[in-house]
Symmetry: D2
C-alpha cells in the first residue's frame, strides 16, 4: 500500500492554510515569514524532496496498565479522497532548528489534541528506524512523495485523545488486534510491519 | 568497592524479621510458610548462593522534564555498620514465581515508599545488564555475597520518595553530579560505571 | 505448547552423563567434583527449581548478507520422545561463576558445533527478555520444569553448523518463513512470539 | 568545540573535486550529472542547510575480543587548517535514494579504506541519536554548518584500516583512554559525550 503520509506539507490532506504555513515555519524563526530563510514554500519542498531524504518522527500511542505493560494501541483512522479507509501513526517532519523531542511533542499534540498527555520517551533512541522510499523495491516502507528517514517511538498517553477535525480518529486496539493481518492491511506505507517491529522492540508482541 | 547489596536477604542490613520473611516467601505461595516449598531459609539461601547465579532487578530513579529528558537522578544513601557512606540503586531479588515487573514494583515501593509513583518501563529489555561476582577479576561489578545477574532499568518517579527507616535516604543529583568521580566513588559494587552505562543507554549523559 | 527445554540438566534429552556432569560443574571450580560446593546434583537442581528463578541465555542464530541484514534464521529441530517435532533456540543455564558471554559461547558451541563461528553480540543488553513459568497464566512463555529468566540474543553465525548427535538439527528459514504461524506452532514454550520479538527488536521483521 | 564535520560536502576539508562530485551524486541517479535532479550543487546545499535538518550516519569503529567485548576504539585524527588536532567518528550524509546501511558502508569504506572489513550492525536501531545544531544552546552537539540528525552506530572492524590521504588517520585507544577527558577535548562537536553514550549503550563503559 503506497499512499501519502498525512502531514502538514501535503495539500491533499488539508486546506488549512494557516496550519500549513505554521508547519512550514521553522521553530528557530523569530522574524516575519516573508524574509525567513527557513521558510519552505510548497514549490521548494517539492524540489527538495527530489534531492534529500527528509527527517521524520513517528509515534505509536499506547495505553499501559499499572505495571507498564501495553494494553491498547492507538491508530489514526482516515478516509482517503477515494473513500478508502486507511490507518497510520502520529507522524510528521522534524523542522529546521527543532529538536526531535519538540517535533514529537508538536505532532502528538497536533494529531491527538492537547489533552492526550503523552509521556515522551526517556530515551532518544527510537524503537525502530523506518526508511520510506517512493519505490517499493528498496525497503518495505513506501511514501510516494519522498525519501524519508523516520524515527519511530512507542509513546504512552494518559489523557483523552481528540484528533483534529480533518477526518482523523483514534481507534484503540488490543495488541493482538493491532498486529493482525486485517489491521496491517489498512496501515499505510507498510506500517503493518513497522508496528510489529516497534512493539517487538519493547517486548509487547503476543 | 566491594560491599554488600542491601536487600531483604541480608542480615547485616536489617533485623526487620517480618519484612525478611515476607521477602523470602515466594509470591506464588498460597499456603502456610512451614510447608511452602518455595520458602527459602537463610541457611538455604547461603547455600544456594554458592551454586547458582541469582536474578536481580535494579532501578535508577530519575525525574524528568516535560519533554521526557532526565533532570535529576536519585541515589539511595546509607551508612555502613563501619560508618562509611555508600550509595546504591533500588535493588533486590526476583522471587520464584514473580515477574520482573512485579519485582521492580515491589522493590521500588520498598525502597522509595508508596507515594513515589514510579512509571514502570514500557520495554522489558533493560537499559543495562550487570553481572556481579564475589571476585573483582571477572567483571567490573562486585558483590561479596554472591554471583548475581541484574537487569537495570531507568525509572521515572513522579511522586514523593519516602525511603524506609532502615538508614536509607534518596539524594537527588543533576546528571553531571551523578556521574562525577566523587559520587561514583560512593556507589557500591562498581555502580559508578553502571550508572554511566544506564544513562548512556538512554542518551542522557552530558 | 509446554515442553521441556533441551538443556544439559534434563535427563529426558540426553543420557550423555559426562556432558551432564560437565554442564553441572561450575566454571569456577578447580577441584574435584566430590568436594566442589558449586556442583549441583540432579536432586539439588530439582529442589532449587522450586525455590528460585534460574538464569538462562538463549541465542537465535542468523545468517547475514554483506550489509548486515538478516537473510536466514536458524532453528534447532528435535523429535520428542513421543515422536512429535519441536523447534527451539540455542538455550541453556548460566552457571555459577560464569559470565553471560561465556555461557552464550558455551551453549552456541554445544548446540551448533565448533565450526559455527558465531559473532557474539557487542552489546550485553539482549534483544529480548523472556520469563518462563510452569503455569501458562503468568506470561506467554512456559517451561514445565521451572521459572526461568532468559536473556535472548540474535547471533550471526558465519561458519558451518554441526549440531550434536542427540537428535538436534539446524533448519534455516527465510525471515518470513521463520515467523509464520506454522513454524511458530512448532516452537516450544511460546518461542514463536519470542522469535518475532527478537527479530522486531533488530528491525528484521517483514 | 564547534568545528566543521569532515564530509564530502565541505570545501575546507578537501579539494578532491572528483570525490566531492561523486559524493554529491545521488545513488539513485543513472543519468549524467548535468541533468540529474538529485544532484546538489554546493550552492544548493548551502541553501538547503538553512531550511532542513540533514540526515547523517556516524560509525564508531571498534575492535573486539573473541567474546564480542570492545577492546579498542578507533578515532579519526586530523589537523585543522589552523594546525589544531581534532578527532572524530566516521561520518557523512545519507544521500537521496540511499539506505542507511548503504550510507554506513560507503562512509566506512571512504574513511577506513577498502580493507577494514566492517561488520555492519544487525539492528537498524542505532546506539545513539545525536542532534547537531549551529547554536550550542540547544543540545550538547554542534555543527556550525547545519542542523543535522545523526544515527550513531558502534561498528566492529576486523581488517586493516587505511584512511584516505586527506590528513586522516585512525588512532586506536583502549576504552578507558577513549572516554578520558583529554581525548574528549579533542573530539569535535561534542562527540566526547556522544562516544560515552554510544559505548554505554552497549555496556562497554568502564
Amino acid at each position: 500500500m503506497s499512499v501519502r503520509t498525512p502531514d502538514a506539507d501535503d495539500n491533499n490532506w488539508s486546506d488549512d492554510s494557516e496550519w500549513r504555513s505554521d508547519e512550514n515555519r521553522a521553530p528557530l524563526s523569530d522574524s516575519g515569514n516573508s524574509i525567513n530563510p527557513a521558510w519552505l514554500s510548497d514549490t521548494e519542498l517539492i524540489q527538495i524532496r527530489q534531492k534529500l531524504p527528509l527527517a521524520y518522527v513517528e509515534a505509536v500511542p499506547v495505553r499501559l496498565d499499572g505495571l507498564g505493560r501495553v494494553v491498547e494501541v492507538g491508530l489514526l483512522l482516515r478516509a482517503t479522497p477515494e473513500g478508502r479507509i486507511t490507518r497510520t501513526f502520529v507522524s510528521g517532519r522534524v523542522m529546521h532548528g527543532e529538536t526531535i523531542r519538540d517535533a514529537l511533542y508538536r505532532h502528538l499534540e497536533k494529531d491527538l489534541g492537547p489533552m492526550a498527555f503523552p509521556q515522551l520517551p526517556i530515551s532518544s533512541v527510537p524503537q525502530a528506524v523506518a526508511e520510506y522510499f517512493p519505490s517499493p523495491s528498496i525497503t518495505q516502507y513506501t511514501d510516494d512523495r519522498q525519501h524519508a528517514i523516520s524515527l519511530v517511538y512507542v509513546v504512552p498517553v494518559t489523557g483523552t485523545c481528540e484528533p483534529r477535525q480533518d477526518a482523523l480518529e483514534v481507534t484503540w486496539f488490543s495488541v493482538s488486534q493491532a498486529v493482525s493481518e486485517s489491521v496491517a492491511d489498512e496501515l499505510e506505507g507498510g506500517r503493518g510491519s513497522l508496528l510489529r517491529i516497534a512493539l517487538g522492540a519493547i517486548g509487547a508482541l503476543t
